[in-house]
């Protein structure tokens, strides 16, 4: 490993936080952060806009939603519990950025859309997958016992809620990135810049197919 890689290491071995249940399959990133709030050149202030259209009415008043509910809302880190195909649709990193800025530091779900999952890795937000029956059980448990903290253990690939331990999965490469602290890939990618240049030189289109 190079010095560049070493300097960027921020291992994420686990996250313990207050659970927030976000029920529903196929929750798309437009719902997580509507496009009309993306006219900005930074991610600042996105946290309060997360899930805006289901958290607020047309006049901007809070409506019933787990993220508005004091029993699901905590000052410290939060862990979201979701269903299937979470984060589908637009590739906007604004979606995990908004959730992260609102307080979500880990997500447990039945499945995640590819781009959303990758964006979460790049932000150091572990997304652990549980099977359908366990997600249903966990979702009901965090709704019933909102004060009980939820632990996402990346090292052991498990989720703990009170006495109950759920066994989860995460792609091996993502798990390795979290545990080694290489989830922010820039450093590792930069360390191979000379090889990048030689790979590029071998591709005929980089020289316009000339020569």
């Amino acid at each position: 490993m190079t010095e560049t890689e070493k300097s960027g290491l921020r291992p994420v071995t686990g996250v313990t936080g207050h659970p927030v249940p976000l029920r529903g399959n196929d929750i798309d990133t437009d719902r997580i952060i509507p496009a009309r709030f993306m006219t900005a050149i930074t991610f600042d202030g996105m946290g309060e806009l997360a899930f805006y259209d289901v958290r607020f009415d047309a006049d901007g008043n809070e409506v019933e939603h787990p993220m508005n509910d004091p029993k699901h809302r905590a000052k410290g880190p939060q862990v979201a519990v979701v269903n299937k195909n979470f984060g589908c649709g637009s590739s906007r990193e604004h979606a995990p950025q908004a959730m992260h800025r609102w307080g979500v530091h880990a997500i447990v779900g039945e499945s995640f859309a590819d781009i959303f999952f990758g964006n979460c890795v790049a932000l150091g937000i572990p997304c652990l997958t549980l099977d359908a029956a366990d997600i249903e059980k966990l979702m009901a448990a965090v709704e019933q016992e909102p004060a009980q903290s939820l632990a996402v253990d990346v090292e052991k690939n498990e989720v703990r809620h009170g006495e109950t331990v759920y066994s989860g999965t995460m792609p091996a490469s993502a798990r390795e990135q979290f545990l080694s602290g290489n989830w922010d890939a820039t450093g590792a990618l930069l360390s191979a810049l000379p090889e990048v240049r030689s790979t590029a030189a071998k591709l005929p289109y980089t020289r316009g197919f000339a020569g």
Binding site: M1, G24, N25, D28, D30, R31, P34, A35, R36, M38, T39, A40, I41, T42, F43, D53, A58, K84, N85, C88, G89, S90, S91, R92, E93, Q97, S111, A113, D114, I115, G118, N119, A122, L123, P171, A172, S173, A174, E176, Q177, S180, N182, D184, A185, T186, A188, L189, L190, A192, L193, E195, V196, T199, K202, L203, P204, Y205, G208, F209, A210
Partner: protein
């Protein structure tokens, strides 16, 4: 056993296997726009990193640009800030920017192919999920987030896992009134919105062999709506003919060399796939979405399905869709009144789409009370359409003829639905709130079907218009 295009392109662009097990993948073409790039430039600036390959990144402005008046400063202050940031960032880092004054501005997935930036065998990435569009040329193209835009700016690489491959064969011939958009919606309806997660889709068979490059782009564009981050069609004579003579495509002897290489990267006849799906073209009808994701689609002659037709797992989303869209199961979709008709977007804003829509628009006038927009995908598409007189056909029928941009596909600009308006739309997503109103309702369909709906004021069957015309 032979190799697929995905495998060949992946291997050629592999810099190394990383410690995480991912591939460090070289990106041949990086496209950027004003929404997902400013934060990435801020990140490299903060880290003191240069752009490693500025000649392999190209920029345009599409999401926020108004389609009625593009006079600077743009009247929406935040839009002007985003536009100015892109101008400054591209200038500072030596990246070519196709702004409104260039004559080449447009939706990023329309201008890449039309300038020949998009070529077979390339890896292509953009901070936009519809980057899968470029797969129509036999490129491996996918959407990325902003942190990955940063990674490409800094290294021209991504840390990625190789996707699995699913070959989707559509055999036979499309019936009259059935367009590439219907093929895309039918595939998603059949396979579902999650089935493509972890996969690259290879589209093949008679229908794709016969399909124009514009049509292939429409289908590849919507791969992500089926969960597949990337979708492609193997390059063929049609691909080469489309590319020949375009601005960034080599010419003369070099073009012949390029064609020879492009032929080599196509999938071998005996390539192995993780999955193969076969669909009969004859079963595809003009298709309309009724729900809140693109998989919730039916033929225009069908009725809103019953919740009991779905698995337990899907029922909640179906019931949510009835509620949001104001349906009762069993309602007919044909005849549903519309308020707005939108023709445009990276899915259906190309010249062939405008020709198909104009062929319908010339048969009547936009119904009273319907707002109808035609938004060309690029300045080049607009010029071509105007040279063919299509804009006059649209205007005579009562459509507004706008300037190039993403417009009402995602409403990050002044083109938005109001309240719970119903929009017949040639775009790609019918998500809740997608078209700029938290209660707005979207019905996705082909551009010809949108034109037919605009004229009748209701969801109509384009086959009737065609048979009467």
């Amino acid at each position: 056993m032979g190799r697929s295009l995905l495998d060949k392109v992946w291997d050629l662009h592999t810099v190394r296997e990383m410690e995480s097990g991912q591939t460090q993948l070289f990106v041949g073409l990086h496209l950027i726009h004003e929404v997902t790039s400013p934060q990435a430039f801020a990140m490299i600036r903060e880290a003191g990193l240069p752009v490693a390959f500025p000649e392999r990144t190209f920029a345009t402005v599409d999401h926020i640009i108004p389609t009625d008046d593009q006079t600077r400063p743009l009247r929406h202050g935040q839009a002007e800030t985003m536009m100015a940031a892109l101008e400054n960032n591209t200038k500072e880092y030596g990246i070519e920017f196709f702004g409104p004054d260039s004559g080449a501005q447009g939706v990023v997935h329309v201008i890449g192919p039309e300038m020949g930036l998009t070529q077979p065998g390339m890896t292509i990435a953009c901070g936009d999920s519809h980057t899968s569009t470029h797969g129509a040329f036999g490129a491996v193209a996918f959407g990325i987030g902003t942190s990955q835009v940063r990674d490409i700016l800094a290294t021209q690489c991504l840390a990625m896992e190789r996707p699995k491959t699913r070959r989707i064969e559509v055999q036979g011939e499309l019936r009259q009134g059935v367009y590439p958009k219907d093929v895309a919606l039918h595939i998603i309806r059949k396979l579902g919105v999650k089935h493509g997660v972890g996969y690259a889709y290879e589209y093949a068979g008679d229908v794709f062999d016969a399909m124009s490059m514009e049509g292939r782009m429409t289908v590849c564009n919507m791969s992500i709506e089926g969960g597949a981050r990337c979708g492609y069609v193997n390059p063929d004579e049609k691909t080469f003919a489309y590319l020949k003579g375009r601005r960034f495509v080599p010419s003369g002897e070099d073009f012949e060399k390029a064609v020879a290489w492009w032929r080599e990267i196509a999938s071998d006849a005996d390539a192995a796939y993780d999955d193969v799906v076969s669909i009969d073209a004859a079963e595809i009808s003009p298709t309309v979405t009724w729900g809140i994701n693109p998989g919730q689609a039916i033929g225009v002659g069908e009725h809103i399905p019953e919740a009991n037709d779905f698995s337990e797992d899907e029922k909640a989303v179906v019931v949510d869709a009835y509620d949001y869209m104001h349906w009762t199961s069993g309602d007919a979709i044909h005849g549903t009144p519309i308020d707005v008709a939108f023709i445009g977007s990276c899915t259906n804003g190309r010249i062939e789409d405008l020709r198909a829509a104009a062929a319908i628009a010339r048969t009547g006038k936009v119904a009273p009370g319907v707002k109808a927009l035609v938004v060309p995908g690029s300045q080049e598409v607009a010029r071509q359409a105007e040279s063919e007189g299509l804009h006059e056909i649209f205007k005579a029928a009562g459509f507004e003829w706008r300037l190039a941009g993403c417009s009402m596909c995602l409403a990050m600009n002044p083109d938005k639905l109001q309240g719970d308006q119903v929009c017949a739309s040639s775009s790609n997503r019918n998500f809740k709130g997608r078209q700029g109103s938290a209660t707005g309702r979207t019905l996705l369909m082909s551009p010809a079907m949108v034109a037919a709906a605009a004229i009748s004021g209701r969801v109509a069957d384009v086959r009737q218009v065609l048979s009467e015309g």
